[in-house]
Amino acid sequence: MSDHISQVVIWCLVVAVAAVAVLLTRQRSITAGLRRRVAQLEESVQARDEEIGHLVGVRLPAVADAVSQEVPLPGPLDARLAGTVFAQRLQDVMDLFAQAVEKAQSRADQSAKAALKASMRALQGLAHEQQLAISEMQERHDNPDVLRDLLEIDHANAQFGRRAQAIAVLCGSWPGRQRVASPLTDVVRGATSRIRDYRRVRVHSGQNELAVVSRVVEPVVLAVAELLDNAARHSQPNTTVEVSLQPVHNGACVVIDDAGVGMDGREIQEAVAMLSGRRAVDVSRLGDPPQFGYPVIGVLAARYGFSVSVDTRSPYGGVRAVLFLPSALLTQLELDGPGTTPLRERGRGEEPRHTPTVPAPRGPSRSRTRHPERTHAPQEPPPAYGAGADRPAEDTGTPHTTPRATPRPPVAPHSTDTAHPGDTPTAHPGETPHGADTPQAPGAPHVTGSTAGGLPKRRRRQPAPGQQRHSRPAAPMPPADIPPERSAEETARRMGAFARGTRTGRTGEHRFPPLPGDRDAAGGPTGAHAPTPAEDEGNPHA
């Protein structure tokens, strides 16, 4: 019996032990699985921690920096996270951050541009005002020493104006001043006026009559000035900068060669990118010191439709910059001939009112004023003449006119054909290309427009082809009631002879018989009529 009992106990124990063993084994395997899982999760959490650290420490700063320079952004640190929701969220954070940075940047840029633009406009205005003042002073002072100082100030002022203008343009402003259509030569020399080393620039213009339409004069001046400034600054001070103007099939080119250091491939690449004008310019990222030149040219070129290339090497070793102006930006100026100097009654800033009323482009011919008192006003030259000779030269205007003639004749260009009752039918050589000269009273000063100060300008007569030249100190003197058959030249010759005669008479050296009526040629009140017309006319050359 006891055997049975012990056997039962033993079997029970065996079963229990087996069960415990099975349980233990199972438990163990479960624990191991859990351990593995925990380790995995720990690792994953750590990876994410590291990833976030990487995001904050590396990737977001990279985004912030990437605005100023194009660099590849660093990716996630752990490749195992790729494609997970977590990685997606991180990317969202990156994108948001980049947007915020960009927005802040553009806002800062805009406000910087606005502030710069406003202040540069103010400076530009001041420079312009100062230039006017300097011009006025240059007109007023006759002393070479004063002029030298004024020229220096003028030069500094022009450079200062250009700097302000360039920055203003870069900030989206217009180049400023309105100009009239100007010859390309003047445009290039105007650009030369605005750089420091203007003496080193040689302009080879040839004889072309190309002109730039008024709309782009100032932009082209500014662009060429920047190119010239680059060329002059990057070359030795003892070398010259050669500029040539070339008409080409589709327009014209301004070719600027310097003998400087040139540019390497990377610089050229950058320059081309900037000159294309496609890259948006950020004023806060122009380098230190800021390089304005190429970005400004790029902006102007894109806005006004010309193009600039700098990727050729100059035969002098430096850079060859070529500014190409398409035909649409060019025009043809009818150059003023010798007799047709610009007649323009313009006070400063008044010309828009008159420009439409001057349709005769090259025939500002005999534009005499219509009113008799005006034509007579400049006819009293002897006092003005004498006074002009006595006074230390300080009027800058024409000394042959009196201030009473200052009322500007607003209709002067239209009165070209007004017949004058006192006109003589004397031979008047064609002095304008039209040859449409109205006969004129001999010696009457021809008022052709007026100076900037409002004084009328006198037009000279040109001698007929057969006649010799005359200088006319005595021309304005004869009164208007000369018999009509006597030409102005003849009258003047007689008056010249007469002047010499009276002079001889007063000095008391009578080389000729003083008796009136003694000899026709030498006698009479004229005293010395001896000089033949040839001598008389040779006199001016003395």
Binding site: P144, T396, T526
Partner: protein, 120 residues
């Protein structure tokens, strides 16, 4: 569109470029009323645009310095520098004006004129 009338823009080319930075004329013989005569036989090639314009202006006959300055729209002192160069290069010659002291009075002039008319 009407063609733009020929006119130089005053503020474009500054005077120091015109005179190449010089302010003193090479000779000090110019007055506002000095008369300037051009020599026709001199070539105009190689002259700066302002000098060329000045020569073309003077080829029409004698002009006073003040008138040249008015026509070229340049300051008188700048014109004097250009004139000095052109006289040096033989393009121009100058002639002093008649001194005012030697100019006869208007009344005498009138009388003599009347006398002349009666005779001639």
């Amino acid at each position: 569109m009407t063609p733009p009338a020929p006119r130089r823009d005053k503020g474009l080319v500054r005077p120091y470029v015109v005179t190449e930075g010089r302010s003193h004329p090479t000779r000090n013989t110019f007055d506002l009323v000095t008369l300037v005569l051009a020599h026709e036989d001199r070539p105009l090639g190689g002259l700066s645009p302002e000098k060329r314009a000045l020569m073309e202006l003077c080829l029409g006959g004698a002009l006073s310095v003040a008138e040249i300055a008015g026509h070229l729209m340049l300051p008188v002192s700048v014109v004097k520098v250009l004139l000095g160069d052109l006289v040096d290069s033989g393009h121009l010659s100058t002639r002093a004006p008649i001194p005012s002291a030697e100019l006869p009075e208007a009344q005498i002039l009138q009388e003599v004129l009347d006398g002349l008319r009666a005779r001639l």
